[in-house]
Amino acid sequence: MKPIFIERTPKTPLVKFDSEKGVIEVKGRSIPENSIEFYKPLVDWLEHYAKQPLKLTRVDVQLEYFNTSSSKCILDVFKKLESIHKAKNDVLINWYYEEDDEDMLEAGEDYESIIRVPFKMIEIVD
């Protein structure tokens, strides 16, 4: 599978999906007006990856901001990860949030309560 690498822009995050390492990274801002366009290829990639995943898939999500349009697409990404986990593969989602950013911590906890995949909340201290 070809890896995905997308540079960050003012409205979309940096994305690295690497099937050989089993590492998925999303970093930066995710505030596009229409997030489907951006996230659809990522969800499709995971759909393929789910057929032959590594024993462990590590997911690092480090978002500074995301809008509500992205929040649904992020849930779609997590649902794909949930199906990988359900098929008896290890998946770990590391949810990073900046010190004092309670809104971002809460957003991570919202996902954690919906998606049956282990989450780790990691505070970034300056």
Binding site: E33, N34, E37, T68, S69, K72, D103, D110, S113, I114
Partner: protein, 181 residues
Amino acid sequence: MSFNITDYYNELSKGDVVLAYKGSITSDLINDILEAVEEKLDEYDENGKTKKKIYNILVESLQNLYHHIEERHEGVEEDLDPKFGVLVVVREEDLYKVTTGNFVNSRKIKFLKEKIDKINSLTKEELKDMYKFILNHQRLSAKGGGGLGLVDIARKTGYKLEYSFYNYNGNYYFFDLTIKV
């Protein structure tokens, strides 16, 4: 007295204005506004938490405008852009006020009123449940809107949303929404 955009805008833009804009709401404009407000907040040396809240709320309110503005303003006499909207951010003593304004057809008033009144009647915990329910059960529209914007705003501010509908002309109303942060 009938509603007048210029008077409305001038009234809003009194006091310590962080940013005031009236005109077409486009994707590029949203970038520009976000960048300008971010710079201003840095100048004010505002703390990180408040900066983030304001930024998030601006993103949601501008994108609400972007997705929901009525494209045709039948009965609007002034020479206004078809994607006309207003955004004003004012700093007061211990809070910021973000106001958006746009034209709506009278058919939409009931829906908007019910939605905002419902949001205003909920506790923080109930808002969280509502957010999670919509997130998990409602599909995104083709335009990318998810019906979550106002719920997210209310969750983040902790203040009630304030709104008014001003009759402009016949079936056209001007919808004013004020968010305190």
